[in-house]
Each structure stands twice: as C-alpha cells, then as structure tokens.
Amino acid sequence: MKITKEIIDLHGLKSEEYSKIKLLMNREPNYLELGIFSAMWNEHCSYKSSKIHLKKLPVKNKNVIQGPGENAGVIDIGDGDAIVFKIESHNHPSFIEPYQGAATGVGGILRDVFTMGARPIALLNSIHFGDPSNKKTKNLLNGVVSGIGGYGNCIGIPTVAGETKFNSTYNENILVNAMAVGLVNKKKIFYSKAKGINKAVVYVGSKTGRDGIHGASMASAEFDENSEDKKPTVQVGDPFTEKLLMEACLELMKKDSIISIQDMGAAGLTSSSVEMAYKGGLGIELDLDKIPCREENMSPYEMMLSESQERMLIILEDGKENEARQIFKKWDLDFVVIGKTTDTKNLSLKFKNEVVASIPIGALSSKAPLYDRKWVKKKLDKKKINIKEHKKIKFDKAFFELISSPNHSSKKWVTEQYDQMVMGDTIERSGGDAAIVKIHQKDKAIAMTVDSSANYCKSHPLSGGKQIVCESWRNLVSVGAKPIAITNCLNFGNPENPEIMGQFAENILGIKEACEFLDYPVVSGNVSFYNGTNNNNIYPTPVIGGVGLIKNLNKTKNHKFKKIDSQIMIIGKTFGHLGQSAFINELYDIHDGMPPEINLLNEKNNGEMILKLIDSENINSVHDISSGGIILALAEMSISSQIGVKIQKPQKMSNIFEYFFGEDQGRYLIEVDKNNLPKVEKKLKENDIYFENIGITQKEYFELDKDLKIKVKELYELNNRWYNKFNGLNS
C-alpha cells in the first residue's frame, strides 16, 4: 500500500515526523511499519511534549528503589519489603465507553504492578465528571463506577480510597485515573530490561483480538463531535483472565526463570517488545504466525497494534520453558514462544515466512521526537475576593448547601460499590484522609491517598502544583503515616497550545518545589494530554497518589471524633482565604481570584508536629482542613462519628464566612482529651506551632454559637442525600 498524506494524518503523525521516519529508516516505511511508528511516537507512549519538563522532578531519596521509567515505581519500607505503585489515566476510552474504559484502566494499572513481581494489595482512583446537570453525566458516573468496581471486585483487590468530583470543565472529557499499589520482596523485583541473545520471547495470557487498535493514538488527540465513532478503539476487559494471569505470573516469579517481563499495555505487542529490547540494547525477532489470535485472518498490522487486555511478554532463561509452560497450563492460559532476542538492535517481524517489518529499535524509542513546546506563563489573577460585596447569605444556609452539594456529599453511593475489605487487611477505608492497609501478617501498614485541586491549578498552576503535593502529604500525616513518595497523573489539555503547555510547565515546577522541600519524590506517573473537545481544554488536573509508612499499627489515627467533651483545636494559622474556595465557587459561582498561598516551611513544621502528637498518643483524632474549610472538616468529623461539637467564634475573627469557609493551607483539626490539653499546648508552644482552641465535642448537636445548630443525625442525612437523589433512588 502506498503511504499517502491521508494515511499519515490518520496515524496522527505530522509531516515533519514522517520525514524523520524516512530519514531514520533510509527508505519509505510500509503500512505496518508506519503503524508501529505511530504507536510508538504518539504522545501517550513517547512523552514527546512532556519529557523535558518531567526531567526536573525529584525522583530519588534513600527509600526509592526504582523511580520513573519502569512499569511502576518501587520504594523500600524496611524488613525486606518494598511497595510498588503507579497511577495511570484512562480518560479517553472511559468517555467513549465508561464501563469498559474504567474497567480496563484498573486492569492496566494492576498489570503494571504485578509485572514487577508485586502482589497488588490496594486500588485507588480519581474520577472527574462534568456538571451533574449535563445529560451525559449520570450515565458516565454509573458506567465508570461499575467498571472500576467490576474489575477490582472480581480480581479481588480492595478499592480503598479515591475522589469523585464534578465540574462543567469535564462535560465533554471526563477523567478516570486509577492507581494500584503492590507488595514485593525487595530481592524479587522484576524489570523489563532484556538480557542475552537467543533467549525465548514468550507470549502469555489472553488471545489477541481486534479491540483497542490505535487506542494510544486515540488518547493522543482531542475529541470532536465524531468521537462516539471511536468505540471500537476501546478495549474490553476480563478481570477473571487477569486474576489467572496474575496468579500464574506470581507463581512463575517464585522460580528463577524470568529474565525480564513486560505487560502489553498501550500499543500492545509493539511497545512491550520494543521497550524490552531497547532497555537491554538488543534486537527482537517475532514470528507473527505464532500469535494466539481470537479472530480469524488477523493481519500483522492488527496483531501489532491490538490493545487486547490481559497479555504479557516474558523473556525466559534457557531451559525454563517447560517449567513455565506447566504453570500457565495449570491456570488455563496461552503460553507460546513467539520469538527470540537478537543482537541486531532491530525489530524484525516475520509473517508467512516473509519479513514484513524491520525497524531499528532506536528509531522507535530514543530517536522518537522530543519537543520543547512553546509555553507562556499564566497571568496572575490579582482580584481579591471581598465577601461583603456579594449577596448576603445566612451562615447556616450556606453550610447546609455546601454539605449537601455534589462535590461535598458523602461518596457512599460510590464506595459501597467497591469491595474495600477483600484480602482482609484494610484498616481504614474510603472516607477519611487516607486509607490504611496492613502489610499481611506483619505489624506495619501503608497509608495511601489520591488528591487533586483543579480549581487551584487552573488559576495558578505553580502554587496549585505545590498545593496538591502538600495536600497529599498532609492526608498521610493525618492518619499517622510518614509520607514516602508519590506517583502523578498529569491530565492536561492540548500541549500544542502555549497556554496549556504553560500550565503544564509551571505546574511541574510547583510539584518539584514541594516534593523537594518535603523529601517526597515522584517514583512513577503518567501524562495525559489532549483532554478536551473542539478546542475546549479541561482545567489542568494533575492528580497525586501518595504512599506513606506506618511502623506501629497501634499508632494510627483517623478523623472520627472519639469522645464527648474533648477539646477541638486548629493547628496552623487561619487567614480566611476565599479565593478559589468551594464556598465562593459553589455558592456564588465565582471562579476567579488566587488560590491560597503555600508556605512549605509551615506545612512541614505543622505536619511533623502532628506526627509527634500521634506518636506520643496525646490526641484522639486528626483531620486535615481542605475544601470547604474548617466548618466542612468539623462536619466530616462529626458525621463519621455521630458526635457533635460546640464551637465558639474566635474573638479576633474578621468575618465568619472567611474564617470558617476559608481554605488556608497547612492546617489540621485535632481532638484532644482535656487531661492531655496542658501537655499538648506546651508541646505546641515549645515548637512555635500556631494553634487555636475553638470548642469542644458534645452529644447530638453540631453547633456554632448562635449561627448554626443542627442534630448530627440530620447533618448526616443532608450529607447523604445527593447521590441517591441524582440516581433516582430513595435514600
């Protein structure tokens, strides 16, 4: 087939990129070769627009075993144990086919984790939908939530935490980010780097079908009105097969048979084989007649670009074939030697005794395009929010409206569709600041959280970037965990637009600054560009997945009040910053102004103090103050514990709305036994930590002076109404 301009366009390649291909090949590529280039050179696989920025991120500290560049990041948690984790987006497929898109997002990220030898022990997610009034939202929400649950529940990995948010910016481009966390013996970590020539390349798992062809290319382009037609590029998941594949791989990994292993994710067989060969400085030769196919008459093009799920590529040590085959046979999975490693540094594909493609490996990886795209700095929105200039609203009414709004309602409708307890080690489930999962049969645990703040990042990408890292760090601290490292999923619009590229560049700088200051490096991640439809880009939405370590299981905390008549204290200073807050955003529909400032030094000092207080067992409960400010944080503590509060307005307070709804950073609420109060106050003063006593816990009523009084039971109902109503259910 003659390669025409139209074909090149269809493959998402620019004309200068095609010229580069010809130069690297020393000839015109054939159709199959062009498809392979398109799969490897698209944004999703090549990171061509993001790479130069990502290099700025801190990726190392004493706990990091493996940073970005492998299937997932790995951190050391002591005693020979390591944690493997990564977050990844599946935005485009989920918008087109919500159930399968979300399900295969979970499946893909799980494979990234068990490919490295780790048994997955937790799943998390961050999902963003359009405005609830948008007619697509309900269907997308239902599909995505069932898809996430459908996959995780079946394979038997608990879904322990997540966030579900609504904003009209996602009306035509939802976000579905899934994170998986696994546990591995530090000495038994598997990597994708091939070693040695003439080693058997083995295909295991499901058969290859025609699903998902060009999925990665789809994820590297904006949507338009014809996006619905892209349904066939969405993969179909089978969690049952993945469970078998996981068990078979983990069983084989106990032996010394595997040289390297790589899952077939985006761009399937193409990217997995190229990556393994490239990392090992080798070539690879595949015989496509041997590929197990689900459908008849599949062409080499289809086989190489299919994104059928639940498949892996393994390079085996000599003489281990039979042993490995027996294990896959036991689990009723395909096991076929499809090729071998070579010293040619070439990807060579044979089909019906003919060489159908021959491409230098380097051309597909290291020589892929790299762009330093033009970017512009975000102009500062210096507008100050003065609440007095806006319509008057009663404090209690404002609070009731916020606590029952889609973004601040209880997420039970969502989380009760996820098995959070399977594997029997989940200590803290969804709903708190971070989930806690015990290391099986050991006396320690890890804490995990996912966080994003698109409103902050949109108005000031630099401080937004800092804020999300701090928020993640704070959430881990709140449950008593020492934060270790993060994974990030960077969801942005079209990078060819200098403003969007500017959001990205500045956001990375913010993430970098906070990560460096908090010694909280990035060990894995994923970039998703082109989130938008017809030139409407989404808000910049970086999502941070954080992991921390709890060394002593008896010293964890959660946000539930424990007792009546204990003291409630705010750690950190309250200025009453309303810019970009949930309060003005949701109640006044004001979307400008600066987000709250980040003071990294205060953040660190306050957080470290919280960890000390938890360690000395002087506090009963902790909650970080985030969206919705002090009053929402208090409400969450009350609703989850069915214990009320009696709060007094501080005398120095300028304005009740600013004080209680303001979103100043680096703050926590703590509950302290009155007996312990002198000790705690002394410690705080000695360490120059700013704090305020704002009230006590009490039975039954949630009360703030004369401005607000409601039974906790009624508050619970207000908080639990929205999802059921939205989905047409009785509460």
Binding site: S146, G149, G150, N153, C154, I155, G156, D238, P239, F240, T241, K243, L244, W331, D332, K412, T415, E416, Q417, Y418, D419, Q420, M421, V422, M423, G424, D425, T426, I427, K438, H440, Q441, L553, N554, L729
Partner: protein, 225 residues
C-alpha cells in the same frame, strides 16, 4: 481440627479465610479445584470470589468441578461445610442448599458493614453466639438476594435453619436494614441436617480488632468447640 479451603480459578477470599482458620488453630489445607481427592477434613470451606469469572451464573461452573463431587460426598456423610458469599452461591448451585441468590434489589454491587441478628444458635456454626445478639460483618456481592418457595421458607423458619438475618443496629429486622432485598432479611441458611451453612456476609473479614472488629471469631470457635 482439620479444615480444607477449596480454591477455584477466580476465588479471591481463599487466602483470607485460610489466614483466619490458621490463626484460630485449625490445621488448614488448600485444595485445588482440579483435585479429585479431599484431605481428611472436619470442615470444608468454599470461599468467596468470582469462581470461573461468574460466567454463566455465579457458582454454576464451580458446582460442576471435580472437587465438588467429593465435597458433596463429604457433606452428605455429615462433614461440616461452610460456603461464604460465592461459596454460598456454589452450594445453592450444587443443590446442597435450596433456594436462589438473585441479583441485589438495586442491581448494584454492595460492599459495606451490615448488622446481623443471631436468630438461631443451636447449630455447630453459631453456638458461641448469644441468641438475639447483634453482630456486625462485612458484605460484598452482586447476587446476594436470597429467594425461595413459600413452603421451603416455612420449613427454614419452622426448623430453625436460619442462623442470622440482616437487622439494624438495635436488632430490628426491617426493610431499611436489608442490603440486597433478601426474603425475610435472610443472610444465611442451613440444610436440614445443620451441617452445611451458606452465608453472604464474610466472617473471615472480622477476626481482628486492629483491622475491623472480631465479630466473626465466634463462628469459627463454634466449629472448634
């Protein structure tokens, strides 16, 4: 006491229940579905999960597996058999227990802690619980909506074959405390001989106060005593 946990492709609570059994001093063995011999067992557990991916119908394929023939033999000769969640569905499919587990009333997967009232404790699985006490266990299923014919329901009620029912925190059994639409809030049933128990809630998830609660322990200690 010797226990065996049956493992199907797609079982995913096998390790959880094995951990609970071992911690409670059972001598436990894992038994692969393709095996055709059972180790000597006083208790056989069919764990939760998605055996064979829930293809065809939950539990339907597992019920026809090699090892189930042996389980049925053992059950008929009086061995204690406990089916949890998917295990309950499998027991129904084998005919060892009667009735059907339909899709949850709201057609969604449901995973949460629920309250159970101990209705009958005069059986080998529940005699360490106090009658009429309320315990909290976790459920996680798509098809837990128990249904049976009127005559059989009467038989279950009359012969004390319903060990526990879903209830609220005060112990009252009503529609709002029914998480899946089960007939009469039934959460588990026994066979006539009371040596086979099928239940939707997961007792193995509630055996450690540090993790959740320990309300599931008595179920296993009842078997031991």
């Amino acid at each position: 006491m010797n226990s065996s946990v049956i493992v199907f492709p797609g079982s995913n609570c096998d390790r959880d229940v094995a951990t609970a059994l071992t911690n409670l001093q059972f001598k436990n063995k894992m038994v692969w579905h393709k095996d055709s011999e059972l180790p000597k067992s006083d208790l056989i557990v069919i764990p939760g999960g998605f055996s064979y991916g829930d293809y065809l119908r939950s539990g339907a394929i597992a019920a026809k597996s090699n090892i189930l023939k042996e389980v049925i033999k053992a059950a008929n000769s009086g061995c204690l058999v406990l089916g949890i969640c998917n295990g309950f569905q499998i027991l129904i499919e084998t005919g060892l227990l009667q009735g059907a587990l339909l899709r949850n009333k709201n057609l969604k997967f449901v995973s949460k802690d629920i309250n159970l009232k101990i209705i009958n404790n005069e059986n080998k699985f529940c005699n360490n619980y106090k009658k009429n006490s309320v315990i909290s266990l976790n459920i996680a299923h798509n098809e837990g909506n128990y249904f049976t014919q009127k005559d059989h329901l009467k038989e279950l009620e009359d012969n004390n074959l319903i060990p526990f029912k879903y209830c609220d925190i005060e112990g009252s059994i009503n529609e709002s405390s029914n998480p899946n639409g089960s007939l009469n809030n039934i959460a588990g049933i026994l066979n006539n001989n009371k040596n086979i128990l099928g239940m939707m809630p997961h007792p193995e998830r509630m055996v450690d106060n540090l993790i959740s609660n320990s309300n599931g322990i008595e179920l296993f200690t009842s078997i031991l005593s």
